[in-house]
Symmetry: C2
């Protein structure tokens, strides 16, 4: 595994028209790029993830696993606006914006464009696949639509344009963040990432494991409440308010048009999670049908799990198997390249190798 920090010191224009004077991106690469760099797979992390795939997809990426490091090199870029090495939300807030306290609108398309800027430096001409879960799945689909020449496969897990229930959950999370209560945001999010069945099995109506008895005092908690509070606490120390607002807003705005879908030439694999209520499997299936109606070569797979939306991160054995099968699929048709890769106004001006754990 090695890491590179890129700094682009030319202006980067966001989809909104706002111009950032420079951006930084952290990239992590696992496995070994072959001589012609034709074995690269671009992986997109989820809302609060980092470019270190190994930190959150252990059991899914590795030698002989679904994301097989003995065959492919896996590249992941921390999102513009995230807080794990790239230009963070806090920095974006400070940079070049006209209004006090305003955050820039960063879109899924903007994030995709930052990733594509790196290709020239990395010497990769085309990815074997672009892969992601949740917001990472949105990015994979948008990548396929915006840069169809640059990937053979699109793999999106537990991802569709957000439903109104999803928009509502994100809205409440951002409102909590506005009140400096990122713990509340995380706790609301956790509910949407898990499934009722999983909660029944793990927590039931047990009192909090620290021994407090909910029947004895108004503030005493059940175990599920203690769990959520703990998740909130550890999150405060690892994520940034502004990054949370920027990336959830990007999620909200992701919404492929039919015209965009028609641009996708990659073989596309949509994966639904059976117990996911944030991105219901039925919605993923409906999206797969819509892709097909729009001429995209699309498969739909359901990952059967009780882990809810989080299953793509937690049910690693099943996730690995689903990905192994998808990567084993032969591309039966070579679709025409429909769109030219556009050269961007940004260039790599610095890059350094990092040794990391």
């Amino acid at each position: 595994m090695f890491e590179i920090d890129f700094k682009f010191v030319e202006p980067f224009e966001l989809e909104s028209g706002e111009i950032l004077s420079s951006i930084e991106l952290r990239v992590t690469i696992y496995g070994k790029l072959n001589a012609d760099k034709s074995n690269a797979v671009l992986v997109f992390h989820a809302l609060t993830g980092s470019s270190r795939i190994g930190d959150w997809w252990e059991g899914v990426m590795g030698d002989g696993l679904g994301l097989d490091t003995s065959k492919y090199a896996f590249v992941c870029v921390n999102y513009l606006g995230s807080c794990y090495g790239s230009t963070s939300g806090k920095l974006l807030k400070k940079k070049g914006l006209n209004y006090k306290n305003q955050l820039p609108l960063v879109t899924v398309r903007d994030i995709i464009r930052t990733n594509v800027h790196l290709l020239e430096f990395l010497g990769i001409k085309k990815f074997k696949a672009v892969v992601g879960g949740s917001v990472g799945g949105m990015l994979a689909m948008q990548f396929g639509a915006d840069f169809p020449e640059l990937t053979e496969k699109v793999v999106a897990i537990g991802a569709t344009p957000l439903s109104p229930m999803g928009l509502a959950l994100n809205h409440l999370q951002r409102q909590a963040v506005e009140n400096n209560d990122i713990e509340m945001a995380r706790k609301i999010a956790m509910l949407s990432y898990k499934s009722p069945t999983q909660f029944n099995q793990r927590f039931g109506r047990k009192p909090n494991r620290n021994g407090e008895n909910p029947k004895k005092h108004h503030k005493n908690r059940f175990d599920i409440a203690g769990y959520l509070d703990y998740q909130g606490e550890i999150f405060r120390n690892r994520f940034e308010l502004e990054s949370y607002r920027i990336i959830t807003k990007a999620m909200d705005l992701f919404d492929l048009t039919d015209e965009q879908i028609q641009q996708i030439s990659a073989k596309t694999h949509l994966v639904g999670i059976s117990s996911d209520w944030l991105f219901p499997s039925k919605d993923v299936l409906d999206l797969a049908k819509r892709f097909r109606r729009n001429g995209v070569d699309t498969t739909f797979t359901e990952l059967i799990s009780e882990d809810g939306h989080d299953a793509f991160l937690s049910d690693t054995g099943k996730m690995s198997n689903v990905l192994r099968e998808i990567f084993a699929t032969e591309d039966t048709e070579k679709t025409e390249r429909k769109k030219h890769f556009q050269i961007n106004n940004l260039k790599v001006v610095s890059g350094r190798n990092c040794v990391a754990a």
Copy 2:
């Protein structure tokens, strides 16, 4: 319709052992009590409801409707701790408690006992039925278990002991209330009261109806977000922080034991709502099976609706039909009275008739 305000000026001991020096209860009665007062039905309101059944069950209660005012008299008591005429949460917080800022634990059993205290004054010996939805359904079941001699039927709609998902939702709502953010509490609650399908139909991904465009500015909302904010705003003016904490805590603690269930002698009707994810219909069915295993004469009905948990309030035609059918059911067996009604330590010391809209 007429209303009565009762004031009990003898000490009332809560299940927790805390003693309240006095309590007030507001009662509303619809329809006409017959000469021997044998046609009374006790109705329990939901979390934020009042004793005015007509305000929230229009289309369900009325002449010829499911709750038929031409046959029965419907009695509803505002909960101890609520803020619609009974001793409110704010008052409870002030009264006779030992710790600064502590709220008393009020349980579903406490609320039931306050209702039973009124029977003597009202001259009612036995209810034709006790009926409620959501926390009202919890109260109906607890009433049947604690005072089996006092009702012929128990009707509980969309109610079971709270699942860990439900406990989690209540926990987050109470934490919002601790931060004086009752609007956030209401908004989280609204998500749990509605169904994804209903949101898809009503809101989809439409921009907020006030014209703001979510793609143009970071704070601009989709329609679902504008709707939730509006629901939060109107709620702040109509409900009390302490009442919210007290009643949601009572909900959390409701959890019938097998021994309690075995006390129920009333014919019991449990109703699940097909799209309810706060109290899933499957959980209601499982509870009905558990009632049967414990010797309770129990039916299960599913109300098919896309309105989510709220369907018992919003899908009035269907709710009315379900209740009409339940009230038409003849009691085929007369079960033995298993438990004596215990005389309580409180007496009616004042009661006045109120003319109200």
